[in-house]
Structure formats: C-alpha cells, structure tokens
C-alpha cells in the first residue's frame, strides 16, 4: 500500500515539475541592452481586412497602458536536453480606455491585455510580432476576450493593434518601425489601417 502511495506522490511531483510556471513582474522599459529573440513560428488567425476584424472582435478601443507588465514563463522537461526548457512566455498589462469604437465599454474603464512575450535571462523572448506593452504607450486595439478568463488579446496578434496618430509613445530600439508597433513592417496591416483611418475618427 505504502509503495503505491509513494509511487502516486512521485508521479504527481514529476507532473508538476514537467510543466512549471514562473510568474514575475519586471520593469523593463529600458530596452537598450536587451537582445531580441523572435522565436516560435506559429499558425494563427489572420484578418485580411477591416470587415473581418470587426466581425471577430468584442471591443475596438483607444487605450493607454497604465502599468508594467506581469509575465508568466512556462517550462517543461525536454528529453533531448535532459532538463526543463522554456517553451512559452506571456505578459499581461492593463489599459485605460480613452475612446470606444466598437463594443460595450466606457471611457475610463480598465481591462487586461495579454501578449506572448517576456524577458527571460536578459533576452526579450517573443512569440508575437507586436512590440512590448510599455507603460504610457497609447494604441488602437481590436480586442477579443479569452473564453476562459477576463483577459483580452489583440485579434490576430499584429492584425489587431494600430498606431494612434500623433501618440507620443516610448522609444522602442528593438524595432525597425517602432511607430507601427511591430518589429518588421512586413507584419503591419497597412490596408486595414488605411480603412480604419478612413472609417473612424481617431
């Protein structure tokens, strides 16, 4: 009997170790000395125009990040390396809504947004094409709420976040086009953005 209980406890402990999560809050608004690691080639939803985006989202708002992100790292045991390796990292931050374009929200409301990146061992490891969520930065968000939590995400990653004209955002040295909020202009949906500027008074 004792042997069985010991075996069960051992298995449960091993399972807990296999998928370990670390949560931390980091203030990393200084990106000068950080190495960018864009990893994890993904398949994701894509939104080829504004109509497709509008159909999918719960909210479209202009908002400003109010704090520093809190991040969660995920590790699991990998037989090839014989140790736990990082396989995913997410960050959440809060925005305060300044303008509502679509959805049931009010100016001044706050909500949490998640993006798939974080600072790990001094590197900015990102699974997302969007630049980090810096305190004070202002963006136009097309947001979908996760079905199992109250956290929102940018629809289609870089398909769902756009610059607010004349916004004065923090510098982002890791990006070739920081004003667009992506690392690489190829990931910016210019056609959709032009449709937005034509349709909405931002």
């Amino acid at each position: 009997m004792m042997k069985k209980i010991t075996a069960i406890i051992t298995v449960l402990a091993a399972c807990a170790l296999l998928t370990a999560c670390n949560k931390s809050t980091e203030n990393f608004n200084d990106f000068d000395d950080i190495k960018l690691v864009r990893t994890g080639f993904a398949n994701r939803r894509v939104f080829e125009n504004l109509a497709a985006l509008e159909d999918y989202v719960d909210l479209a708002v202009v908002g400003k990040f109010t704090g520093d992100p809190e991040q969660e790292e995920r590790y699991r045991y990998n037989e090839f390396f014989g140790k736990d390796v990082l396989y995913f990292v997410t960050s959440t931050n809060t925005i305060e809504i300044e303008k509502v374009l679509i959805g049931d929200a009010e100016i001044g409301d706050t909500l949490q947004i998640v993006q798939d990146y974080g600072i790990v061992d001094g590197d900015l490891v990102t699974f997302s094409d969007l630049t980090p969520m810096q305190k004070g930065d202002e963006w136009l968000f097309f947001l979908k709420k996760e079905s199992d939590s109250d956290i929102y995400f940018c629809a289609g990653d870089s398909d769902g976040r756009f610059p607010v004209p004349n916004a004065e955002n923090e510098p982002m040295p890791l990006s070739d086009c920081p004003d667009l909020g992506v690392y690489d202009e190829q990931n910016f949906m210019w056609n959709t953005y032009n449709e937005i500027l034509e349709k909405y008074d931002i």
Binding site: A14, T19, L36, V37, R38, T39, G40, F41, A42, N43, R44, R45, V46, E48, Y56, R74, R76, N78, E79, F80, F81, K83, V85, L86, Y87, F88, V114, D116, D121, V125, F127, K144, E146, S147, D148, S149, I151, F153, D157, Y183, D184, Q186
Partner: protein, 219 residues
Amino acid sequence: MKIKKRVIPMLAGVLTAVMLTSTASAHPEDYWAGKYIGYEDAKFTLRISRSAQTDFLTSDIYRSARDWNGISSNVRVNVSFVINARTTIDDGINVYGDNLGERLLGYTTPYDSNGKPLDTSIDGLISDWAYADITMNTNSSVFSVASDPKLAAQMTFVHEVGHVLKLTHPFISRGLGGHTIDGKPVAIMNQGFPGDYGGAVSSTITGHDKSCLKAKWGA
C-alpha cells in the same frame, strides 16, 4: 504554313516551360538555411505526447503529417503516439499540447544546443538547429470558429511540421505568377484557416510547398 507548324509547337513548349516554372519555383525566402546539428537529412519520428492527445486533437490529425513523405528522398516523417510517460524514441521530435488561449493555433520552437529558443528572424534563418518541438493548442474553441474545425486543426499540424522541416511562412511572391492569389503563394505554409486570403491558405500541401521542400532538402 511550315512556319506555323514550327511556331505552334515552339509556343506550346514555351508556354509549358513558363507554367512549369510558375507552378514549381521555390522562393529562396520561403525556407530557412541550415539543417539540424549532426544530420544531413530530415528523417525523424514525431513523438505525440499525452498532452497533445485530446478528444478534439485525435490521431488522424497527427497522422496527416505523413503527407510530407514522398516529396523529397531526404525527408521522412513518422508518427508515434506516447502511450505512457516512459516511451522514448531516438531522433524524436516532441509534439506537446497546451492551452494557449485563443491567440495561437499552434507553433514550432527551434532551439540552440543549450536548449534556448532560437531567434528565427536572424539566427534561425542561417544556423543549424539543435532541436525543435511543436506545441498544439488544446483549447479547441480556437478552432471552433473555422468552417471545418477538424480540417483547421489538421492544416495547423501539417503547417507546424513544415516549420520543423525548415519551411517558413511564404513571402509575397515577386513576379512568379501562376500559383499565387493576389501575389500570395497558395500554400499550407501560409498563416490562417484553410480558405483565408481568397484561398491562398491551403488545407493541403501545394506545389509551392513541395517545390520549397525539394529546394531545401533535395528531390
């Protein structure tokens, strides 16, 4: 009359050559350089872990990875399902499942020899990878909005295996017509659900995907 007889076959030949070029030309931007450290080919077993096996992500979805076989003599993909935690396979590429919310359908991570994720935008483009693994989203609601959720999951898995085979998301075609829609190659390696971008996101491996695989690993 004689001229016509000669011109017609010549024109037909030229047209055939153009069509063959346009349907089978690989774009060098559409696959990574480098191989796997210690290997010259891409012959491996996908080791489907228990975490990736769900009521929705069933064995037939994973077996579709074999569609990459028979294109290049240097590529062979086998699929093996982990029955218990002790199962190990040499040269196995692990396939995991995790709840990724509704942001991603699945993704592939390449690693360096220290087990650190590689920067696919720079290092990953040119360097040999030590290892790669696949994570499939076990949150089935992310697939449920597709017109055919099972097909979307299957396409995602074959797409991710394409990344393990060092194929990238296709860049916009530069002057190579014929197999593009609005300049975008028709490919399973495009991001999205099957049928997106007017059909450029394919649910099956296309001529473009095959030509890239052959250009990468040889015929």
